[in-house]
């Protein structure tokens, strides 16, 4: 079995929120936990991709002779012999039906659109033989001059109607922002650029595909959503969805790049079909850079109009970025700028240029991360310009309701976040003057920024099977990205069933289990915990029915609504002496187990002990509900800058968030730390370099694509504001995977400004930009 077993713990009942150790921790550090590429299936073969050397043009020829002769080589697939799929994403309808992240599937034609595009897939009996054979393929091309980015003079900019794959508007307008800008007493304009970033999870993308029957496929996949992958594969392969099984028991990080079904997955399935044996394909690190999307290179121009007192009057935002030849993808940066502060007018535009790149995709806090960089730096500029404290300027523009819709917030603890963060950080001791604080040779700077992330509620299912011997198995087809889903859901199930957590086994990551949404958009904790809670309620309702019909039960003939459950004991709410333990009840009734299922619902059932409020027409989704649902938080950062050497070190960090119910104090803290480090990486070092002439990356490995190491990160202080949100979902959980990195790069940049008096608006803030001699 490849999931955490029943385990030992000292935690008592009421375990939700407690800093329980990871239930899968031991399996992971001992190597027992099997990741998707570690299934040693009988007859397993190995697939290796050969990718394009050029970024634009056509394949002239592929000579497979030498490769095919190599011992152990079973098949070589190219656009000439890849079995035809029922559907490809190459046309908009196909793309939509598949739910594909990219409107193009490699190996379906001879056209090359981007560097690193797969041109062949070699299958052999060992990994080494497949790798070697791939190097023996001789591919010739007719190359054309590619376009690398939107700054290329040949690039043609256009205004898309929709961005983010149709999910966000290309143009937004609220009030007359231009007129308000024209008459604003204070006007600021600034341009922000953001380097290409790659998710770079430790575990690269991988697929192991095995056909159990000619029309039945199992895929061990490195994905954030088994169900989405199942649907995509089934659609492309022309199979009923239930004939495809997708399994992801453990994931070594995803950050968005594993949120969709990318080409290598279906190509592996095709290859497995072709060779009649299971095929495993693991992307190399270099292939990872051109196989699962990225955060696009982008420029934002933000204009701000304000009163002399620092009250916002107008915000105008423009973003220009590179997209692929087929899709209009841009992270929706403007959303957060539209909701963060009380500003009467707002306008935003997107501009795109088609480059010879694959389609970019959601990357942790897509839109919110770079968008918050722009607005939070400009708010800082406003504070300095008007001589107002950076926190005070934000309080003067505090949004009491969602400015973009006028709806009230379901909950918002941002004021407390500012106050508590400032206290923990010692903000009051900060000298407001920039460039005035020193520590020997080093300049010391302190900056802060606001964070916010929407609560994307998704519906998901869960099943709970409670055994008469006092343990339970809980199931949901969710994914644990490595962040603690196994653990927190075990805690929720324990509390909901009144059992100690070691009596619960939670199973996830398999399409055979009840359907759960993708673990993305920070939805997993809220949705899955709520579904499990509801499933447990279902179990109690079933047992209540049994009890009130059982003449031997103390609850015989009681009305169901008069019965409640306390730590596994069914009892009369008004006379708790009258009742019995579920084990006694089940034994007497001859029930070995009882099973309940649940769907994450709106309304705080866990808070009230009642099932969640029914989903009504007005509280369905974020956009149609009565409330606007967001998490909020604040980051505080101290940096020390060496003005001669240009180095910036983060020396202190405080994050305070209001994110609804926190299910596990330890894993939640780790999430915030992880997200903040992700943000510090984007702020100070992460950048994928794309050669301007060849449209090809020049640093696609972890030696040259820098992500923070321990030495870059100080001790971090993380706190949560106690928040009980009765509107969002049954457990009142908002999710924290992404808010943790929103505002981080701005907090760092603001601290750098405070240290040096120099405003760097071009991420990452590397030493050359501090020195200021970088030529333009």
């Amino acid at each position: 079995m490849n999931e955490p077993a029943f385990f030992e713990t000292t935690a008592g009942p009421g375990v939700v929120g407690q800093p329980l150790n990871r239930v899968d921790g031991r399996d992971k550090v001992t190597g027992k936990a099997k990741y998707s590429a570690e299934y040693a299936l009988p007859g397993l073969t190995y697939g290796v991709l050969k990718t394009s050397d050029i970024a634009k043009g056509r394949i002239k020829s592929i000579d497979t002779t030498a490769a095919a002769k190599e011992p152990g080589v079973l098949a070589i697939y190219t656009h000439l012999n890849l079995p035809k799929l029922a559907k490809t994403p190459n046309d908009p309808d196909g793309k939509k039906a598949i739910g594909a992240p990219m409107g193009f599937l490699p190996l379906t034609s001879d056209v090359i659109y981007y560097a690193g595009q797969p041109v062949a897939l070699v299958v052999a009996d060992t990994f080494e033989r497949a790798t070697h054979a791939a190097t023996l393929l001789r591919v010739t091309y007719t190359a054309e001059q590619p376009i690398a980015t939107y700054t290329d003079p040949k690039a043609q900019l256009f205004n898309p109607e929709k961005v983010q794959d149709g999910k966000a508007d290309g143009y937004t307008r609220r009030g007359d922002a231009r007129a308000a800008m024209a008459s604003a007493p204070v006007k600021l304009t600034a341009v922000y650029t953001h380097a290409i970033n790659h998710h770079n999870p430790m575990e690269p993308g991988s697929t192991t595909a095995v056909w159990e029957a000619p029309d039945r496929l199992t895929v061990y996949e490195s994905t954030q959503g088994v169900t989405r992958t199942q649907k995509s594969l089934a659609t492309m392969l022309g199979l009923p969805q239930d004939q495809v099984r997708v399994v992801t028991k453990y994931l070594g990080g995803g950050f968005g790049c594993k949120g969709s079904c990318w080409p290598h997955t279906v190509l592996t399935a095709q290859a497995a079909k072709g060779v009649g044996r299971p095929v495993k394909l693991v992307l190399t690190r270099r292939q990872q850079f051109t196989s699962m999307g990225h955060r696009e290179d982008q420029t934002q121009t933000l204009m701000l109009g304000a009163s002399q007192e620092g009250k916002l009057l107008s915000l105008i935002h423009e973003k220009t970025s590179t997209t692929s030849p087929w899709d209009n993808y841009a992270e929706a940066n403007s959303k957060i700028i539209n909701i963060l502060y009380d500003c009467p007018t707002f306008e935003s535009h997107y501009q795109l240029a088609r480059g010879n790149v694959m389609t970019s995709t959601f990357t942790r806090a897509p839109g919110e991360a770079p968008g918050s960089f722009a607005i939070e730096c400009l708010m800082d500029d406003l504070a300095y310009q008007l001589n107002i404290d950076p926190i005070e300027i934000r309080l003067r523009n505090y949004a009491e309701k969602d400015p973009s819709t006028g709806r009230p917030w379901s909950s918002k603890s941002l004021r407390q976040c500012y106050a508590r963060g400032a206290e923990l950080f010692g903000w009051s001791k900060r000298n407001p003057k920039a460039g005035a604080t020193r520590n020997g040779r080093l300049l010391v700077g302190m900056g802060m920024a606001t964070a916010s992330y929407p609560v994307h509620n998704s519906q998901g299912m869960a099943r709970v099977r409670l055994y008469a011997d006092g343990h339970a198995v809980v199931q949901a087809g969710a994914t644990d990205l490595g962040t603690g889903t196994y653990t927190v859901i075990t805690q929720v199930a324990a509390d909901s069933l009144g059992l100690p957590p070691e009596k619960i086994r939670f199973e996830l990551g398999d399409t055979k289990l009840p359907t759960a949404p993708n673990s993305g958009g920070s939805v997993a904790a809220g949705t899955v915990s709520s579904s499990v809670y509801m499933a447990a309620q279902d179990v109690w309702q079933r047992l209540t029915k049994v009890a009130i019909q059982d003449p031997k039960s103390p609850l015989f003939k009681a009305k169901p609504e008069d019965v409640s459950v306390e730590k596994g004991r069914l009892q009369l709410t008004k006379n708790t002496a009258k009742g019995e333990d579920f084990m006694a009840l089940m034994k007497r009734a001859g029930m070995d187990d009882v099973e309940g299922s649940g769907q994450g619902k709106y309304g705080a059932g866990y808070e009230t002990g009642r099932p969640g409020n029914p989903a009504g027409p007005n509280n369905n989704t974020e956009s149609t509900g009565e409330h606007s649902m967001h998490s909020f938080g604040a980051h505080f950062c101290e940096v020390q800058v060496d003005p001669d050497l240009g180095t910036v070190r983060v020396t202190r960090w405080v994050s305070v968030h209001g994110a609804g119910r926190i299910l596990n104090a330890k894993t939640a803290r780790s999430q915030i730390i992880g997200g903040s480090i992700f943000g510090i990486g984007a702020a100070l070092m992460e950048a994928t370099l794309r050669d301007p002439h060849y449209a090809r990356y020049t640093n696609s490995d972890l030696g040259d694509y820098h992500i923070p190491v321990n030495a870059d990160i100080p001790e971090m202080t993380v706190e949560f504001i106690d928040e009980h949100d009765p509107f969002i979902n049954a457990m009142g959980v908002k999710g924290i995977g992404e808010i943790s990195m929103v505002g981080v790069s701005a907090a760092v940049a603001n601290a750098v400004f405070h240290a040096t008096g120099k405003r760097v608006r071009d991420l990452p803030i590397t030493p050359d930009k501090i020195l200021g001699t970088k030529s333009v």
Binding site: A115, T131, T135, R286, D644, Y697, H706, N710, D768, T773
Partner: protein, 328 residues
């Protein structure tokens, strides 16, 4: 990656002969450069000759200085008390290099022969004169932030990426080589690495089949009072944007002898004799250090993205000289 055969050599002769007589063979020590480049198909070898059993070991004091066996590991040399006390710049250059895991594997000889991190060199899809002579140098007009401002040519501007060689070249280290005939020769490290000129594929004077046996470093006052300062994009585990290896012998307030080398800026470990000349005999003041730093980069030819290295190299050098002069 090509298939290769593997041979473990127990004698130097066996190793050198195997490489000399087998076209496409290469020595393997720690393998941290070699296997990386083989996996990228940048280097292809059909035979690997493992030299780890050879007796090229030892970190010891000799009559006139220090001797380090070529097969000593970076971590062992970096943490050796003799090296730390008498040659701090060497120890620091090693301990600020790579990661603990890499330092535990990587050898001193292999370290000197590590190859550039130029992204075009490391990807066979690009042209690159170093990898494929005559194919071109896209770095000149491309991503050259990390590349050299000193010692470049029209053919190649790739940075020599290592740290240790920068410290060693500053301290007049000498490399002991041995060929298949068992003949040994001594090459000053200053002459060991080559600037690219028209032949960027030739990086050192080492001949095919020749082994690095050891490195010797003369003892000197400026070696005892020395330091390595490395500036990089993250706090640890990154190649140098710029680094400075300096040693000073200061008597009273006057500099009696000085050693200066720069890393991250040159196509080879960049010793600056002109900077040393300015320092020698001059007072140990900031003005002197500034003048020496300016001289060290006088011949620099920066590109669009690496222009900042001009200022950064000077600041780094001034900082290192200031700090080392202030040492007791």
């Amino acid at each position: 990656m090509e298939n290769f055969t593997y041979l473990q050599a127990s004698q130097a002769k066996e190793a050198t002969a195997a490489v000399r007589d087998h076209k496409g063979a290469a020595f393997i020590a720690g393998g941290t450069t070699l296997l990386d480049l083989m996996k990228l198909n940048v280097e292809n070898h059909n035979q690997l000759v493992d030299i780890n059993m050879l007796a090229f070991k030892g970190v010891e004091q000799t009559a006139d200085g220090l001797r380090i066996g070529a097969l000593e590991r970076m971590s062992d040399v970096g943490e050796n008390p003799l090296v730390m006390q008498q040659y701090p710049v060497i120890s620091q250059s090693l301990l600020q290099a790579a990661s603990p895991q890499l330092r535990n594997m990587a050898s001193i000889g292999g370290n000197l022969l590590q190859r550039t991190r130029c992204g075009y060199f490391r990807d066979t899809a690009f042209p690159c004169n170093k990898r494929q002579p005559g194919s071109g140098c896209p770095a000149q007009e491309g991503e050259n932030r990390n590349l050299a401002i000193l010692g470049g040519s029209k053919a190649c501007i790739a940075t020599y990426p290592g740290d240790l060689a920068v410290a060693l070249v500053a301290l007049d280290a000498v490399v002991l080589l041995e060929n298949a005939k068992g003949k040994q020769r001594r090459v000053p490290l200053l002459d060991f690495h080559l600037v690219p000129g028209n032949t960027p594929q030739r990086e050192t004077v080492i001949e095919p089949g020749e082994l690095i046996v050891s490195v010797t470093v003369p003892a000197a006052a400026h070696a005892r009072k020395s330091m390595y300062l490395k500036v990089r994009d993250r706090a640890s585990y990154a190649f140098a944007l710029v680094s400075a290896a300096v040693g000073l012998d200061v008597q009273g307030s006057q500099i009696r002898s000085a050693r200066v080398a720069l890393g991250g800026v040159g196509t080879k470990p960049w010793r600056s004799l002109t900077a040393e000349k300015i320092l020698t005999g001059a007072p140990a003041t900031e003005a002197t250090f500034r003048a020496a730093a300016a001289a060290a980069v006088r011949d620099a030819q920066p590109r669009e993205q690496n222009r900042f290295k001009l200022e950064l190299a000077q600041n780094t050098l001034v900082r290192a000289l200031t700090d080392v002069a202030a040492k007791a």
